[in-house]
Symmetry: C2
Subunit: 378 residues, 2 copies
Amino acid sequence: MAYAPKQPLQVKEVVIAPPQAGEVRIKISHTALCHTDYYTLSGQDPEGLFPCVLGHEAAGVVESVGPGVTSVAPGDHVIPCYQAFCGECKFCASGKTNLCGSVRQWTGTGVMKADGKPRISELDGSPLFHFMGTSTFAEYCVVHEVSVAKITKSAPLDEASLLGCGVTTGIGAVVNTAKAEAGCTAAVVSVPLSPPPHLLPSLSPPSPAPPRPLALALHGTPAAAPPQFGIGTVGLAVIDGLKMIGAKRIIAVDIDDSKKDLAMTWGATDFFNPRSIGDTSIQDHIVAATDGGVDYSFECIGNVDVMRSALECCHKGWGESIIVGVAGAGQEIKTRPFQLVTGRVWKGTAFGGYKSRVDVPRLVEEYLQVRPPDPRHP
Amino acid sequence: MAYAPKQPLQVKEVVIAPPQAGEVRIKISHTALCHTDYYTLSGQDPEGLFPCVLGHEAAGVVESVGPGVTSVAPGDHVIPCYQAFCGECKFCASGKTNLCGSVRQWTGTGVMKADGKPRISELDGSPLFHFMGTSTFAEYCVVHEVSVAKITKSAPLDEASLLGCGVTTGIGAVVNTAKAEAGCTAAVVSVPLSPPPHLLPSLSPPSPAPPRPLALALHGTPAAAPPQFGIGTVGLAVIDGLKMIGAKRIIAVDIDDSKKDLAMTWGATDFFNPRSIGDTSIQDHIVAATDGGVDYSFECIGNVDVMRSALECCHKGWGESIIVGVAGAGQEIKTRPFQLVTGRVWKGTAFGGYKSRVDVPRLVEEYLQVRPPDPRHP
């Protein structure tokens, strides 16, 4: 439970009401911690509503469905998606975007469409807000049917949970938003911030086999880099996507040198630390190192100054910069318009441009094709 | 002659030296006044060099060529192009951009590539800078061969001259940069500023038949709108391009109501004056009037606040904003990154994305196909 911004999370018993029309109640088997949960808890999210149950990167099993629900049934394995896909609204029908608008006005205000109220409450009945239409930091959550991606039962739910946000976002930024092509040069600008430990709840000791991040599994787990908070899943997933499409050069940028080995293991060809390049700006450093700049850059942290660096390290004439991170309330990006007039393109991505209910099941299938053997999931 | 920023232009006799290796001397038959000439004269152009001969939107006849020039010969009708196209440099070879880099370092510093010196001088031999590699406000100019577009002799040079900048830029912004499609909705945000009369030179009285702007000729001359400085050629050319590709709705935006008739004649379906909409911002006004925003917007004046409005009047999920105008030195564009993360794209264009030597001759041919009969050019 998040009762207020900047306050520690609390472990409490709450009521998750039965699903109403068009709703699905999911028993969450695994949930991950995404930087966006911390972002809202930090008070920087202009849409943040308290008290609420955070969490939006998860997997689980359908427990019950409300009237009219036809696409899933109890027992189905699913990923609850913070980005819906209805297939019918103006956005879905356009074919140009994944930003379905069918339930946005309710998920953006922490309630459900059927009655404009939440399905989460304290034991005394006081209502609690939903978060991002998901609220997966609980053993059950109620979501709109249009936000439920049904996945194959052969996928391990711990690993699949990461396709609910981070991995999907990073790979999609490369494949859907940038549409990067083989042979390209790219910079992945990612300076992950860890949530201060005091904001995390006191939990019982971790189980002996903590879930491995999905992206790690794609290439095996490097012994030197155990899973940890703030590992930079989105940045690593972007690197993974770039390697997948055959990028020639992948420059990882981070102020933390301890990220270098992990980035290189994932497929980065270079690692630049902006604090180890003297008085040069990171954009000038990258432009010099790449004979004019990169073809694509990805900002993965939500820092508006880093977004500017990412744009300005792009090559004149064709470089495209993709904003993946989410900035704090009221913050603005800036640059000289000459950067765009001379051919650079500034874009952003949400959920990697993937259409959740349609694409996530396919991504899970594709993941199973490349997944290495794992004794935990024979 | 422009001797210094903010000083009136002067009519003087100067020397235009013969072309050296790889250079072409052109007898200018017609030159137009573009806002960019005024922009540099105003002192806002960080690359502005004085004293110089301004002018970059013109047409003429090749008078002589330097050693090694093979693509044009004396007598050829040509348009001198401020954007070169060599076909061989990294930019040209990429196929992704029109921003040829073959002579940029010399045209950007007001000199010629062969010897790093200008071909323009005072009668006493003092050197004068070239401007944008063209300097067409003189009876002759010397340009690099890679900057010369050879056009058909059947095209009237007065009309063709406008394809040297404004019309090409506006149409190309629609066709090449936005790649706008039939049925789209667009906003053309254009608030043309006229050069103050005191900065213009005293010329002899105009000839009885002043050249008509090319874009005007495409649709006939509206009686109520005689050619004038600050007529907004780029904005009108964008409207023309949008009409050409079959846009469903074209919203012209200008703070000068006297532009309305002209904009509607060109093909605009709506005219919004930001000063006549109450307390609403122009972006909110456009979003409300278009059920969520336009598919494409074009900023045609070089004002960074207008660039922001143009981006933010685009539709969530897919709207693209194209910066066509050139902003003053040091000025910056700003917006919340959320605008991009939710699917808007920010781009810019130079010379409308057209590859000058390759595309301008074809544009002149296309113009002749649609040009109405004109008794002045039987």
